[in-house]
Amino acid sequence: MLSVHEVTTAYQGLVAISAVSIEVQKGEIVCVAGANGAGKSTLLKSIAGAERPRSGTVTFDGKRLDGMAQHHITATGIAYVPENRRLFPRLSVRDNLRLGSYLYRGEADREGPLDLVFKLFPRLSERLEQRAETLSGGEQQMLAIGRALMTRPRLLMLDEPSQGIMPKLVDEIFQAVKTIREAGMTVLIVEQRMAECLEIADRAYILQTGRVLMQGPAAEIRGNPDVRKAYLGL
């Protein structure tokens, strides 16, 4: 479904990822892990069009994405939840969610996915009128994922969704990811909490200093002694 081929992206001359290739099949949950600054976020940005790759190709359902404007990429069915969430701070929770369905504003029932969002994060339904900027850290993360779901993506990309989330909810979020997959979406997820993430993921990639260090089925990666030592803290 998504194929990233030899993508290199740089910030003002500084190469952040070089010749990274990954594949995501329809209906999969794929996890990308790696140390700080390994280039995980950069990889997601390059797919989502937030950064322009210097070279390489990104294909989604046979369509070339690299070079496409970011909002067009969103329209092709890729939702991206960035690390810093990027909510609309002074707009209400309701408006943030509504804007998620902006692409479907012509439709009579444009807010179909809202049920799913409220099912996943009931807290949001209690806070509809609150400004996004006054939500607690965890609530903001819920809203960011919720807003992304409102765009009715076929591929959902999450950058460290568990960051700042309480333990109970971390589990819920990973459960939510499973639910989301069951609802027919594909998920590409960047996580530091590899242990939890690998439990739900089908496959995983490990990045190190801008390159793919390792890849394979989740179970296999989890069993790898190097990984256990370096990334799972075991």
Partner: protein, 243 residues
């Protein structure tokens, strides 16, 4: 000797929402105390009250034996309250070292000394290599470390850490944990908010759990994680098994 920090019956309301209700906690000198609790429990709000960003709707805050409820944030910093922000607030157009110098100036009015202090802190926090980079060019984890460095440069007696160890791989987190210990060994009291139990629990001397703005439980970490109220409100079942 009295506790370093005490909150006495502190309330904070935002319109109809009660973010802190009747919170009375105390932090002793040289402790590392963990402040945990569900998202939206009011932890960051309590930090804001202690640091003086907001005046509490009701109640008083005592620091180092004095009532500081009415003092503005800058004054509290001068008295020894250092804090980080959960949503990082770096000085984006300044370099890393300059960010830290701002903090160092509280106790070092001579520039040369402030600069030396800032460099020390950067060494201490492992940011020395990034000293001349603009804060805006740091990755999020580094920005959080910068928050810590800046606060440390003010030579606080009490350091409030709001989720500074998130987004780290377990290995990296261990470095962070060591850093916090080092801070405490330097004689600084630490009150920290953190959601990753694997990190907090071994680190803290004591844990306070907030829920719905109230203190739910308080005690040794090992006891707290076993508390059924904490498990149901915060940890979830998995941790109940693990603990």
């Amino acid at each position: 000797m009295t506790a370093l920090l005490e909150t006495r019956g502190v309330w904070q309301r935002f319109g109809g929402l009660v973010a802190n209700s009747d919170v009375s906690i105390s932090v002793g000198r040289g402790e590392i105390v963990g402040l945990i609790g569900p998202n939206g429990a009011g932890k960051s709000t309590l930090f804001n009250l202690i640091a003086g960003v907001l005046p509490p709707t009701q109640g008083s805050i005592w620091f180092d034996g004095e009532d500081v409820t009415k003092l503005p944030a800058a004054e509290r910093c001068q008295r020894g309250v250092g804090r980080t922000f959960q949503v990082v607030k770096s000085f984006e157009t300044m370099t890393v070292i300059d960010n830290v110098i701002v903090g160092a100036l509280v106790r070092n009015t001579v520039m040369r000394e402030a600069r030396r202090k800032a460099h020390q802190v950067l060494e201490f926090t492992g940011l020395a290599a990034r000293a001349d980079v603009l804060a805006s060019d740091l990755v999020p984890a580094e920005k959080r470390r910068l928050e810590v460095a800046r606060a440390l440069a003010t030579e606080p007696k009490l350091l409030l850490l709001d989720e500074v160890l998130t987004g780290l791989t377990p290995t990296e987190a261990q470095t962070g944990v060591a850093l916090v210990r080092k801070v405490r060994d330097a004689g600084i009291t630490v009150l920290m908010v953190e959601h990753v139990m694997e990190i907090v629990m071994p680190l803290v001397d004591r844990a306070i759990v907030l829920d719905l703005g109230k203190v739910l439980v308080e005690g040794k970490p090992a006891d707290v994680v076993r508390d059924p109220k904490v498990i149901s409100a915060y940890l979830g079942d998995r941790h109940a098994v693990g603990a």
